[in-house]
Symmetry: C2
Subunit: 353 residues, 2 copies
């Protein structure tokens, strides 16, 4: 299980002079173990965030409260401390004890930004945030399957947004229909980040849905980012309520052309910076042209000016060029798998205005 990821993680550890990896970022924990980290409820009074320990000996090991033991995926072990209880709570003490026993004095490559200060005290560690992020960028075959499943939820949500949007409803009303469609398709509760804005707010990149009422001629900018089985999809479309204004059609055409330029340019060896330049050309959106995604919703390779990471077979990038004006904006986004011959589009949602 995860042999390739485990090997890449250990290689990252070797490069920083460590004997193993302690994944602290939830994205790294999922990447190493397959464990779906709960991110929707904030910190728990009963547990610290899960950790993943990978050494040369034995399978990946989750450090979690006993409440999570049953959710440990096949192929990884779990060392646990007491979680939910009617007795006194001490998740920090519990986690520190089992972590210390599992680590056994090894020097670990970890992510100090995400690691609890209470656990770092008694740990020998070295910062391998950058190395682990780089290792996560190339996806294994089973990760591509997971990403495709997450992108299917994007497709469902985008189709629902387009089918249900109509003059007279609010952004938040439309949002509840979209989220419901995604969760019905997933068969369960689904973390879902999103921009969902209409009218003049589309000029401002995005934002959460609010109580603005949709009107005929409004653009709706819908960027949906669902997580399924621990992997994130991503997608954006911009469409019109009724007949689009000529200015909107012009923006849409330019954004569509930029996206097509990017898709055509995706291939192993091209740098993020080079690809950014091809997509961006004469457009002046204030954000990246794209980014990797996987167990996190924004990761390497970043498709940004000067981005030095070279695309490689097995990387997955979302490209999202945009054209923003004074009172309307259009953004389009698809996810592309880097293949030996170029790229394969994984997204299937409609892009029409």
């Amino acid at each position: 299980v995860n042999t390739s990821r485990r090997a890449r993680a250990l290689e990252a550890a070797r490069r920083v002079g460590a004997d193993g990896v302690l994944g602290a970022d939830p994205a790294t924990v999922t990447w190493l173990t397959g464990f779906e980290v709960d991110i929707e409820s904030g910190p728990s009074p009963f547990a610290l965030p899960p950790l993943a320990l990978v050494t040369a000996d034995g399978p990946p090991t989750l450090v979690v409260s006993a409440d999570d033991a049953a959710s440990a995926p096949e192929g990884c072990e779990a060392v646990t401390y007491p979680g939910f209880t009617t007795g006194p709570l001490d998740p920090v003490g519990g986690a520190a004890r089992v972590l210390s026993a599992a680590v056994g004095g090894r020097k670990l490559a970890t992510e100090p930004g995400a690691l609890s200060a209470a656990l770092a005290r008694d740990l020998r560690f070295v910062d391998a945030t950058a190395e682990l992020a780089a290792a996560r960028a190339v996806k294994d075959a089973d990760e591509i399957v997971a990403l495709r499943a997450a992108i299917e939820l994007c497709d469902v949500g985008q189709i629902e947004a387009r089918a249900r949007a109509e003059a007279g409803m609010t952004e938040i009303e439309l949002w509840t229909l979209v989220r419901a469609a995604v969760e019905r398709a997933a068969g369960g509760r689904t973390p879902l980040l999103a921009d969902l804005v209409a009218g003049a707010r589309t000029a401002q990149t995005g934002g959460p849905p609010g109580e603005r009422i949709l009107s005929a001629g409004d653009l709706v900018l819908c960027d949906l980012v669902p997580r399924r089985h621990g992997y994130w999809g991503d997608s954006c479309a911009t469409f019109s309520i009724g007949e689009a204004r000529p200015s909107a059609r012009a923006k849409h055409r330019r954004a569509r052309e930029a996206l097509e330029r990017g898709i055509d340019a995706v291939r192993p060896g091209i740098t993020g910076g080079h690809l950014d330049g091809i997509v961006r050309a004469d457009l002046d959106y204030g954000h990246h042209s794209g980014h990797g995604l996987g167990t996190s919703w924004h990761e390497a390779p970043r498709i940004v000016p000067g981005g030095a990471t070279r695309l490689a077979e097995g990387m997955v990038v979302a490209l999202e060029p945009a054209v923003y004006g004074a009172d309307e904006g259009v953004r389009l986004e698809q996810v592309i798998l880097v293949t030996s011959g170029g790229g394969t589009i994984l997204s299937r949602h409609p892009l029409e205005l």
Copy 2:
């Protein structure tokens, strides 16, 4: 702004020999500043979790990325580091620099379990997790207003669950209707934890909604925990699809009596343990009888066997006795404000079977 909370936080710092407070738990950050911490998207590649610095000089200070500066509530300051950018990312370095400058060498009372190890390195700090949790337990008047607003969302969701549940739909279909009603009422996206289970799963305390189909005679256990303006509501009801079985009616009667006993017993001075014993009596549910809530969904005072915290005026507790059997369970929950004369029920959702 937050004068009383600020004074209590500084008192907690003095008790542990510190010169100020560095709130690291998102619940403490919200409590000190009013800032609504984003908890739904997991760690950000562009920022560390927000921190709140409170010293004897000046207003509470948020340590956040520049992206959050505009959301800093009135009455608090923000020191910021670069957030979202198309350039290189270094949230850890940025946060460490501005934190160090703002702290100015002070020794701080903080929550090491929630603090990033990358920031702790250069900080003089002492663990005040317990003292800050205790300080958060008594609510100020504006916090009661916020809690009432969150509980209103519970009421909306509970009424919707009862109105929409019918044989033939799945748990997840019912869930999407409930969540939509809550978000429409809130006018925006709303963090919402929940148990929503039907049939035999009600015997197992709770769980997330899944694809089980509701049948006539099923119990539905619905525990809704929404966050509004940074404060959490809580609520539970259990109701029947169609005619309830006599065994379910008997369980419901016992749970209702336990809840009534608890509400009658709430008053300043009673310990959590004493109140737990009154509510629990001869019932054998495997969880707490209740808990405090505020900027977190489970906090002091815990209403558990042996709980030593004495209720005080201004505390807010959710009581949630339950009766679980082999194949069905009933849990009922209301939120009560501790007043000088006893308690005031803040919940208004229906409790009938």
